[in-house]
Each structure stands twice: as structure tokens, then as C-alpha cells.
Symmetry: C2
Subunit: 236 residues, 2 copies
């Protein structure tokens, strides 16, 4: 085909930039310059443009006419909007997995084992990857093209918020593990009400931590940089 090698290069560039955004090395509202990325990574400008389109579909950047690519902001309103949307879609996913009466929970269990090891080793990067594979474990069971595609597109934003949450002093990796353990139990038990309760409670907890960090960061701007509000504050 001649198509694949370039797709893979493009994916690599998207993953490289995506990781920088997710982990917070690239800040909200930062500009991503096509030519600079191309020269830094020794790749063609066309490949960078394709990577930027992939990052846009992962909701990590916005491509704005006349301004180019900007890292998506993480203002309070957007965190709210994201949490509500993502937790509703996760409920749809897990309720469907539960209803499918699948007996094949191997991928979920493997993700939980990875999380357990990550907690023991205090390895947050691995914890976040295991959290992603836990969600993805539902996709092959259901074969839902649209729900899976939309959730896949939102997972990077979820990982990005997880990194923000991890900077809060009240955050405990064991809470993430316990939540997923309880969730798998609820899915196995086909208990829709419990699934919804767990997903919404977890999302609410994380949102609270992010918003509390944002408040302290606008009081002490050096702690972090969460979007336009923080930038405007600094500009004063």
C-alpha cells in the first residue's frame, strides 16, 4: 500500500507530542509550531500536520485558523464538561459489558494486576496506562464501533486529567486501584446501579481535586498553569 509506514510515523509523532501534553510538559494554551516540531524530530512538515490532526481528534489540541495548533485548555468549565461526558460514556460501556454476560474478563483482570504492581512500585505512569487498558478491555467484548471510537478519542484527555489529579497532595494511587477493583466486581455482578454509582463518584472525586488545584494555582501561579484563566492572571 505504501500507506502504512507513514501512518506509523505519523502515529509516533502524535504519541510523542500527546505524551508531552498528557503529562503536563506541554502546558494548556501552548502553541505547537509545525516547522519547529518537524525540525526537532527530523520529519517532514506533512507528517507533523497529519500528527496534529490525530491530536485534534484526541481532543488534546485545537487547530485554530490563523493561529495554528494550540494545546487544549483545562479550565473549570471544560473539566466539568469532560467529566460529565466521559463518565456517562463509561457507564454506557460498562453497563453493556455487564449485560453481555461475557465470561471473558481476562483483559480487565490483567489491567488490575498491572495497577496493583504500579501501586506497589509507586509508578504512576504505569498506573495511567493500566487505567487505559482497563477501559479498552471492554471494546472487543462489545464490538461497538462508535462508542469505542468516541471513548478512544477521549481517553487521552482522561489520562491528562489523571496527571493533573496526581499532583494533588490528597491523591492516593490506591484509590484508583480500589475504584477499578470495585468496578470490575459490579460489572461481573451485572449491577447497573452500582456501576453508575462508582463511575460517577470516581469522576466527581477527580474533578474535585482538579478544581481545588486550579483554585490554589490561581492563588499561587507558580504551582501550575491551567488554561486561559491562569495565563490571564499571570499577565496582570
Amino acid at each position: 500500500m505504501g500507506f502504512e509506514p507513514a501512518v506509523r510515523l505519523t502515529e509516533q509523532i502524535a504519541d510523542h507530542l500527546g505524551t508531552q501534553i498528557i503529562t503536563g510538559r506541554l502546558k494548556p494554551q501552548a502553541r505547537i509550531q509545525e516547522l519547529k516540531v518537524a525540525s526537532d524530530l527530523s520529519v517532514s512538515r506533512g507528517s507533523v500536520r497529519e500528527a496534529l490532526l490525530i491530536l485534534e481528534s484526541r481532543h488534546l489540541i485545537e487547530i485554530i485558523p490563523r493561529r495554528g495548533a494550540i494545546v487544549s485548555s483545562l479550565e473549570a468549565g471544560q473539566v466539568d464538561d469532560f467529566s460529565e461526558l466521559f463518565s456517562e460514556l463509561l457507564c454506557q460501556l460498562y453497563v453493556k459489558v455487564a449485560a453481555s454476560r461475557s465470561l471473558c474478563f481476562d483483559e480487565f483482570s490483567l489491567s488490575l494486576e498491572r495497577m496493583e504492581r504500579a501501586v506497589v512500585q509507586d509508578d504512576f505512569d504505569t498506573l495511567v496506562l493500566a487505567r487505559r487498558s482497563f477501559i479498552r478491555a471492554g471494546f472487543p467484548i462489545l464490538d461497538t464501533f462508535y462508542l469505542s471510537a468516541v471513548l478512544s478519542g477521549l481517553i487521552p484527555a482522561d489520562m491528562r486529567l489523571a496527571y493533573v489529579v496526581s499532583r494533588h497532595p490528597d491523591y492516593d494511587m490506591r484509590d484508583t486501584l480500589r475504584y477499578h477493583q470495585a468496578l470490575l466486581e459490579a460489572v461481573r455482578g451485572n449491577d447497573d446501579a452500582r456501576i453508575r454509582e462508582l463511575v460517577h463518584a470516581h469522576s466527581g472525586r477527580e474533578k474535585k481535586l482538579v478544581l481545588s488545584l486550579q483554585r490554589s494555582s490561581s492563588a499561587r501561579p507558580l504551582v501550575g498553569n491551567f488554561g486561559r484563566a491562569a495565563i490571564a492572571q499571570k499577565a496582570l
Copy 2:
């Protein structure tokens, strides 16, 4: 920036191919050949690749390693999956618009007027565009980055299903108009239960028509081509 003109060209190519998929001229499972499109439209291969990434984020094609770009299929399972997801997100949108207590419903009203004219003129293409602008009318009222982005990504698939539905002998353009009129009333009245009832009933009706067409098309393959099932049938 030097970025914008190419973005626009890319969007034009994506819109051109997207329209062919939405209106059914490009069939489910059809292969889209990068080189052929580039030569047909006298554009660079790079621009076509970017357009294909945009079409993938609009859920109209799948880019499959070693196979290239394939028009998404429209099998019964996917229609089900899409309807459930899209109608739930529409409910989220309209319930939020209703709760916002916005008094600015001009864009909704304009979309309804376009729909009315389209019905009078029996102009289905315009009806589908007005249906899209009706949904989009909620975005500026809410400024919900994620919900708007996800819905925008799904609207082309909704338009595509609308074209399928329009081929059913029982389809009546006036039903589409009446549904949107009732929906705007429910939004103005901030009546969540009625919004949910209308959205789900409309989605259920359209799904029923699509599935009934698919059944008749697998009995009479010449009527249409709806994905792998139909292709497998023809191959027998």
C-alpha cells in the same frame, strides 16, 4: 502561518469525499485510494492523507493497517450502537441548553425555517443541512468543548443515516420537521422528560426504517448495499 490555506484545501477534500459517503454515492466498505483521489482532484497525496484523517475523525471511514481507507460499514449492530450513543448525547445537549435558560433561540428558529422551506420544496439535501445546523445551534449557547467536539464528529454519521432513511417509502420529510418543532418547544419549556422522550422516539423511528431497509436489501441485493453482510450475500 502558512498553515491555513492547506487546512482549507484539506477540509475541501474531506468535505468532497464526505458528501459522497453521506449521500450514499460511496458505499459502505468501499476502498478509497489515496493516489486515485489525488490524481482525480489534482491535489497532493499529502493533502489526501490529511483529508482521510479528518474523515476518520468524522467516523465516515476506517483507516486499516495494510488495507488503507475503507468507508465505514452500516450494519445493524453499528446502527444500533450509533443511535444509542448519538441520542444520549443529543439529550445531554438539549437538556443543558434548556437548563441554561438562554433566551437566544434564533439559530434554532432559523434552522426550523430552513427545514420548512425544504419540506415545501421537497429538497432533502437542504433538510439534512438544516438538521445539522439545528444541532449546532446549541454549541455557542453552552460552550462545551468536549460535548460539542464529540457531537460534531458524529453529525456526519447522523446525516449519512438520514440519507438511508430517506430511501424508505414510509419516510416523510414532514416528520423530521415536526420532530424538531416539538423539540424546540420542549427546550424552550425546559422540559427534560419531554426532550428525552422526543429524541429517543425519533432515533427509534429512524433506526426502525434503516433496519427494515436492510432486511429488504438483503432479500433484494440490488436495492442497496449496507456493509459486510450485504457484500457477503452478494459473494455467494
